[in-house]
Symmetry: C2
Subunit: 487 residues, 2 copies
């Protein structure tokens, strides 16, 4: 799928699906020819990014007091029977291990679809007293679900994520953790990766199986559909009661604990990075996670001795050794190389030719804008650091202003349909996000061909506007909600 000699050029905004499903192979991120459907091979160009992405989240989680753990990939069937709603939500899509060698297993083992039922039985052994709380652990791993439709980084039968499972003595502390989790998502997604997000409290009917409430982070894709990239579930005491996670408080009372779990969807965040920042020429990786930071391209004159140019390229690589830098010395034209590294999304290209050598300068070309900077070699290191920050800022501003201009108020079904079809989120007055709003949500989804109530913005207390009546049933609206089709 390498585009030998052909320039990548697909209109991302007009043909997003074609763009995405071409660029992930053309840029050599994955191979989908593995012989189990829905399972893919991650190639080095995506793995460098995943490793950095994991580290960004792990660092933030650890700063927030989480510690690393690793639980078995397999979970006995009986564990799923403990929390009924959770079991109903997950067991239909579980892969089951039933044999070892030629022997039948006495009981089936699930490939973990998520780890509540693996972890909480151990939590009930570890937690005895209020002094054992809070307990905040995370694991970086893959999970397995028999999804019917799959697409790399959006939805797969095995995908990468982090799951953090926290236990608290009080509801108040548990609720505070939700805000902390949102801050971690904001820090990484928005500050480090330059992706604009919305944070929603999901409606009751769209809550994680077994949870009381779900809080989630949505990113708008170029086609206006929305992608959930992270979520925190407030579990209340549901699992604590099912798995007997109890502790003695200061006064010796035996109490059930309160729990939250937080899942940054590492795979989906990759989809968000690709889709948000890429352009018609290919990928644009934000500097925080780029597989390589800089590619240096020697501009050689045919028939001449270009030794000094090649030498200068390697000198610059040495000057920039704290970055991941590659000198592209292949026997190809500069134009071919420019296109290929643009397709692959490297943040900065440095061009070195006779002119740069004689002036002791480097020409820097950032991937995201039409700009060519002449920088003195001894200012190069500082300049790259500055440019990294500026590129991240530009990407963030672009993403934010796109999102801002694609949220539109609607007061009727027709308006909602029109807004969704043009690729925006519709902002509407809505009856309720509790169970009694479900009927309106079903009508809305049917009438708008998939428009879903994503929930209310967290911490904004948005007041109904205009008529202040539910856009579907016409009753007084309790909430302002956002409608989008979803991935």
């Amino acid at each position: 799928m390498v585009m030998e000699g052909r320039e990548f050029n697909i209109d991302k905004m007009k043909n997003f699906s074609e763009w995405y499903n071409t660029v992930i192979y053309a840029a050599d991120l994955v191979d989908n020819r593995y012989n189990v459907q829905g399972f893919i091979v991650h190639k080095p160009w995506s793995m460098y990014v995943f490793k950095k992405l994991y580290r960004l989240f792990e660092a933030e989680l650890e700063k927030d007091g989480h510690k690393p753990t690793s639980f078995p990939t397999v979970i006995p069937e009986e564990n799923f029977e403990i929390e009924k709603e959770h079991a109903e939500g997950f067991t239909p899509n579980v892969f089951w291990i039933t044999e070892k060698g030629n022997e039948k297993l006495k009981r089936k083992l699930a490939l973990r679809p998520t780890s509540e039922t693996a972890m909480y039985q151990m939590y009930s052994l570890w937690i005895r007293s209020y002094t054992d709380l809070p307990l905040k652990l995370y694991q970086s791993c893959t999970v397995f679900r028999n999804e019917s439709e799959t697409n790399p980084f959006f939805r797969g039968r095995e995908f990468m994520w982090i799951e953090a499972h926290d236990v608290f003595a009080t509801e108040e502390e548990a609720r505070k953790q939700i805000v902390k989790d949102m801050r971690i998502s904001t820090k990484v997604l928005n500050e480090n990766l330059g992706i604009a997000c919305l944070f929603f409290q999901r409606p009751k009917w769209d809550t994680f199986p077994g949870a009381e409430h779900t809080y989630a982070t949505d990113v708008m894709m170029p086609d206006g559909k929305t992608l959930q990239v992270a979520s925190t579930h407030y579990l209340g005491q549901n699992f604590a009661k099912a798995f007997s996670i109890r502790f003695k408080d200061r006064d010796g009372n035996d109490l059930h604990a309160y729990q939250t779990c937080y899942g940054p969807g590492i795979w989906r965040i990759m989809a968000a990075i690709i889709s948000t920042h890429g352009d018609n020429k290919g990928l644009i990786f934000p500097p925080a996670v780029a597989p390589i930071d800089i590619v240096i391209i020697p501009i050689l004159k045919s028939g001449k001795n270009n030794e000094n140019v090649i030498k200068k390229c390697h000198e610059i690589k040495e000057i920039l050794k704290e970055y991941r830098v590659e000198v592209d010395e292949r026997d190809k034209t500069p134009g071919f190389k420019y296109s290929e590294w643009e397709l692959k999304g490297v943040p900065f290209r440095i061009e070195i030719g006779e002119k740069e050598v004689s002036e002791n300068k480097a020409t820097i070309v950032p991937r995201d804008v039409k700009q060519r900077l002449q920088i003195k070699i001894d200012e190069l290191k500082n300049e790259i650091e500055k440019q990294k920050k500026e590129m991240t800022d530009r990407l963030r501003e672009k993403s934010q202003s796109y999102l801002n201009s694609h949220i539109k108020n609607a007061e009727s079904l027709d308006e909602i349909k029109k807004i969704l079809d043009e690729g925006s989120y519709a902002r509407v007055n809505f009856h309720s996000i509790d169970a009694d709003g479900k009927e309106c949500a079903d009508i809305l989804q049917y009438e708008t061909k998939g428009g879903k109530v994503r929930g209310i913005l967290i911490g904004k207390n948005e007041e109904p506007f205009g008529s202040k009546k539910c856009v579907i049933c016409g009753k007084p609206a309790k909430h302002v909600v956002y409608i989008a089709r979803q991935y």
Copy 2:
């Protein structure tokens, strides 16, 4: 399993098995109460170490030109049928996935026991020309085998490792890679972790299923038994032929490639760290992978205002902020804290009391020796860096001299038995490590209750000594081999 108020004290050399099976729980590395036999839960205290250990190896692999990849955890049954020897070696212990939800799968999927059969079918798609070679990829993952006997970090049904799978155009390059792999093992195990190792070419009958030769790294455990912690398999063209990994050379000839695979056993290296360096008081983590580098313990006087002592502890933590440092302010005696952090293997303890505050000094106590160093606060940072290096050197020298003094020549079965029983390796003249030596090896193993031929030292060309006759059959010996019981 925390040793509330009781000092850990078990004679490691006399009762190694008891020591090991107590310390891993007492120091809170793992929990073995997970409800699937042979699968364990990794707690934070081991996970910090595993994360560092993975990064050490990944950095060395990348320096050597390997790139990261991630393949699916599941492998279809049919893939195992492609290389017959390999299949026979692995399928008896494979866990099989046979159902998804309530449905039967059309074909069984294995939980990967190792990834040759997953990766090489893709390699055959990726490799077309000599310009695609060498191809050097690694993945950090867990693998699954239905082992009958399990013990944390020695042998488990799911365990952590890295597998690097390399493809070359020529046998010569492939053979060179074996040496490079050994260098990576030496760098991490010996230089970074201070563990003395021996590098063996294994006898023919102890070769990886499907490989031509196996080269392996052994570490001596305190009971004299040996633990294989890493191995490189020279696959020749066996898998290339089975999986059709072919390339066109410069002249357009269609050729089969040559392959190697290298597996640093991350889990087993943890077992080696624990067993090699620990002492009767508990664990000793080498500074390169310690979960925390330094614990600061305030020495408080009861009934006094100790504010200045606590303040100084936090000042020092700030000075040493590039390290992972913990100030232990718990309401426990210093003696209790000393024992606990010694048990947990933290490399350096810093004690701060009135005296240290008034003299603007810190008392540093390295975990591995009876030493108390008074260091001026403004020299502390440099001193810690120096001390880290010195501790690693001490650990390495101790490990090396123990190994050196526990290798003994033997010229009869009786001598071998005596040497193995006293906890040493026996060094003997041996008929052959090719297939024709197997009979002697079987006799030796039977007669010595498990003594195994570990192979010949790599790159040493050791000449037979004394009688120069095979210690078993009395025929002229081709090799000097090492005999040990094994984990």
